[in-house]
Subunit: 185 residues, 2 copies
DNA sequence: AGCTACATGTAAGGAGTTACATGATTAT
DNA sequence: ATAATCATGTAACTCCTTACATGTAGCT
């Protein structure tokens, strides 16, 4: 159950509403942990009951009232305790790999179309990551420590996207060969 | 709901029992799709009801009776239909990245221990993949087509493991620097 | 008139994990 | 003796997705 810990991590950086926390999981942090706003609101409710977080209700003019959540000592202790426990092993769930695995079932052109689409997505992701790197992490060693750690996860994203791009190239080359061999489908 | 399609893929390769199908998800195919035996048995039950698979009950001497499942035409049609639909976007869920992201919360040595452990795991994975490559895919172009496709997924695994290994090196270098800076924790 | 951002949630259902339950055979 | 392999499943629970539900402000 790591959504809890993901939320604790966000709140350890700064207090925020459920809405704001959900945005973290849609943007930057979403690269390695995603959650919908529904999940976040539910989880925050449970966490408040468990005493890991508390909130301050804030009335607003012209906007819905909001709850600003913040970490309790107990929440921080829970987070630190979790940090020290060994992380779960990698576990991919990737539909594209499944489709390639049984790629012989459909015409190579159809699979190629899908791979090309995914390659475009990975290329865009890589460009986005690289742009963030250039814009914010030129002088990494002089940034605050938490930023230096978050930079490491960005580096992971860059390596990950590159590896996928290269693999897509391999698959594309193979599929083009297949299409050349059987042009009459 | 892709467990269904993963099971269809396995059965499209060869008929098998729930036990045997579950092994695929623990071994080779487990690299990109994992499922427990409990999940598999449940799913097979649903799939049989839906007419995607049928089974032959086989009594055995000295072993429990078993059900050998096989694809129906409807099952194959479902699989091919799914193959043609666009695959879901990549979505990681990685605890290790979460821990690095908030690495400043614990002493660098503790994080380093975890990274080293994971690097060892990825190194073993890479070695396993490379060994499979050498043993079975020396002469890829002359293998049956399905094997050529499965080789592509192995290539993905190799690229993936390499990318993680390199990233682990980056993190290790950084953490050793951190440990050097604050030797008094 | 329609879209995006802000801001909160409930409900139903599907997917996945962990624990429980059984029992023979073969290898160490 | 103990563990692994073969072989099946149920039950409880947690986790995640999709759909529903509401309402203002500002931009195009």
């Amino acid at each position: 159950m790591s959504l809890k810990h993901a939320v604790l991590i966000v709140l350890q950086f700064e207090d925020g509403t459920g809405y704001e926390i959900a945005k973290w999981f849609d943007q930057g942090m979403g690269y390695f942990w995603h959650a919908s706003h529904q999940q976040v609101y539910l989880e925050l409710g449970k966490m408040a009951q468990a005493g890991l977080v508390t909130f301050t209700a804030v009335e607003q003019i012209g906007k819905p009232a909001k709850k600003i959540y913040h970490l309790t000592d107990q929440g921080l202790a829970e987070l630190k305790g979790w940090m020290l426990k060994p992380a779960k092993q990698f576990a991919l769930k990737d539909e594209l790999l499944m489709k390639v695995y049984s790629g012989h079932l459909i015409p190579p052109q159809d699979l190629l179309d899908q791979i090309l689409k995914h390659q475009t997505d990975y290329r865009e992701l890589l460009n986005k990551f690289k742009q963030i790197e250039e814009q914010w992490f030129q002088d990494v060693e002089n940034l605050p420590l938490p930023h230096q750690y978050s930079y490491l996860t960005l580096r992971n994203g860059i390596g990950y996207a590159k590896a996928w791009l290269e693999w897509c190239d391999e698959v594309i080359t193979f599929l083009k060969g297949q299409i050349g061999k059987q042009p009459s489908i």
